[in-house]
């Protein structure tokens, strides 16, 4: 079985001066796995990938890639992997074809193998139109595709991709993720990202790192289950507007609905959701094992309320991610200068901010839950 382990990291640590970028990271990736490497900026994703590609050495611990130790056999390690660094740094003055040929030459690909591989790689990465163009004239999306093509040119058993989709447009992203699934069947792929939707779309397994430590590792469902809470949204009609009221008697008052819902067994927490004046909306949180929906339906039917909405949200990966890593984020914001120690990850800050806005609400919720529990 052991030769099925393609990437093996044991107690990997890396310090930059007094800053501990990685703190005893342990994980294994098997053949055919697509692993999403997640974490906030500066968590140590790029550092880990750089160690695995032998660009930097760990301060302590061991790592093996395809059975080769990163200390003892860096050349064999690099031969067995394709690597796309963050932001796809390419030689701007070369044309796409020149660049691919350069990469193939350094990997000692014979000319006819190169022609065959180049053909398929160009097709897969959609580069046919730009083959003769200089890379400096290409958009970031295309540069990223060239970077990916370069990583695939020698048909490696292992792919390590550092934020491969950060500059792609949504269509390209979807295409790329599809392709990743396709090639990931007999290959090992490790990709870092902070876009969680991508992980959900393409990876069966995720490793979440935060402040240099692994905070979660496993299949997505398991990680989701880890937080162990489920959220329900219930809304009950408050006023029918111009239409006639279809419920029994008068529409209920807000306090009436609130107390009734709070009395339902299994409700851990009840929250008010903002709505217009036509409905009362509440958010219920329960343990995972109990399903509240039948009880809520029963309650509404017995009272004769008009139930406008009732649904259950399994906690999204995003929520899990936030709850696992939010402590560090907050610490970073307070300490300030400390955060620039992870400078290699700072570039991505812009993308992250964009991701963050729709999650503002959910963060508040978490803070509330945290204080509730304590």
């Amino acid at each position: 079985m052991s030769n099925d382990v393609m990437i093996y990291a044991n107690d990997l640590s890396k310090s930059f001066g007094s800053f501990r970028a990685l703190d005893k990271i342990n994980f294994e990736v098997k053949r055919g796995e697509i692993v999403g490497f997640l974490g906030p900026n500066g968590a140590g994703k790029s550092t880990t990938m750089r160690i695995l590609t032998c660009f930097i050495s760990p301060t302590s611990g061991t790592a093996r890639v395809n059975g080769h130790d990163v200390f003892d056999a860096p050349l064999q390690v690099r031969e067995s992997l394709g690597y796309l660094p963050q932001r796809a740094p390419l030689y701007l003055e070369m044309s796409v074809l020149e660049y691919l040929r350069f990469a193939a030459e350094l990997r000692h690909l014979p000319a006819d193998t190169f022609r065959k591989r180049a053909k398929s790689v160009v097709e897969v990465c959609g580069l046919a139109q730009v083959l003769g163009r200089e890379i400096r004239h290409l958009s970031h999306g295309y540069r990223q595709r060239v970077g990916l093509a370069q990583a695939l040119i020698h048909d490696p058993p292992i792919l390590i991709l550092d934020e491969p989709t950060s500059d792609l447009d949504p269509n390209e992203k979807a295409e790329f993720l599809d392709y990743l699934k396709q090639i990931g069947q007999e290959r090992t792929v490790m990709l870092s990202t902070h876009n969680l939707a991508e992980v959900e779309a393409s990876c069966a397994r995720a490793i979440i790192v935060s402040s240099g430590r692994i905070v979660a590792d496993g299949p997505l469902d398991e990680i989701r289950a880890k937080s162990g809470r489920v959220r329900y949204v219930v809304s009950v009609q408050e006023s029918p507007g111009t239409a006639s009221y279809r419920g029994r008697g008068e529409p209920p008052k807000k306090s009436e609905v609130e107390t009734a819902l709070g009395a339902v067994g299994g409700v851990k927490k009840l929250g008010d959701l903002p709505t217009d004046e036509r409905a009362h909306a509440f958010e219920l949180v329960s343990d995972r094992e109990v399903d509240l929906r039948p009880d809520v339906f029963r309650l509404a039917a017995d009272k004769g309320w008009v139930l406008l909405e009732l649904h259950r949200d399994a906690q999204t990966l995003e929520d899990v991610f936030r709850s696992l890593t939010i402590g560090d984020e907050r610490r970073n914001r307070h300490v300030g200068p400390e955060s620039d120690a992870g400078d290699d990850e700072q570039d991505g800050a812009g993308d992250d901010d964009a991701d963050e806005s729709p999650r503002g609400a959910s963060r508040d919720r978490h803070e509330k839950t945290a204080s509730d529990r304590s």
Binding site: F16, R50, T53, C54, F55, I56, S57, L75, Q76, R78, E79, Y83, P85, Q86, R87, P89, L90, Y91, L92, E93, M94, F102, A103, E105, L106, R107, H108, G147, Q150
Partner: protein, 251 residues
Amino acid sequence: MRNIWIIARRDLRAQFNSPVAYVVIGGTLFLVGVLVFLIPHVGNAFMGNFWELDRATMDQMFLYLPPLMCLFVVPAVTMRAIAAEKGSGTLELLITMPVRDSDVILGKFFACLAVVLILLAATLLYPIAMFVWPWHLGPLDWPTVWAGYLGCLLFSSAAVAVGMMLSSLTESDVIAFFMTSATLSILYAIGWMASIIPGGLGDVVEFLSFQTRYQSFARGLIDTRAVIYFLSIATVCILVSFRSLESRKWS
């Protein structure tokens, strides 16, 4: 070996893809031409131009080439070698290919040296034009010229290695340019000061100076001490840049 060649070829092509190599070669040819043929004898600063000297010799060319190399040829050629790759991140992609760090350093060294060699080859135009075709101004002592070129070659190997080393220590090509220019100029110019510094210090300065080492070649003398001196400088600087590239792993 093969990786060194592939990297050197790519770097050389990159040099000629940017205007730098053309400006450096063209500019140097032009400046050498002006200095050798047009600038007249003025006080002690200039030894008199080609016509004033009135001898079949290329001494003036070999006098002016090294200072020009120190001031801007070598700094311009080597400034981007490692510094720019570090700055733009392309180094990461290059190093994570299955290549040794030493392949990268040597490949870049030979690429830079090749640009300088192309420049040196281009300066052959002057002796050829004056003494072979279209003009025959007299019997040129070719062995002296070849000795001069050997001196230039050894001199520029050392200078390129110094430039590479300084380029590997920084991430900015501008800083690399000025550091290299200053370092090489000082190494060259201390030769003039050697005579006015008294005692042992003067000897040390004379020992270190590129200029005193180079001068014997310009006179047609192949001095083994100078050969070893330049090759040692080149080797040490290449080793230092190799270590400096490797140090990224541990920082």
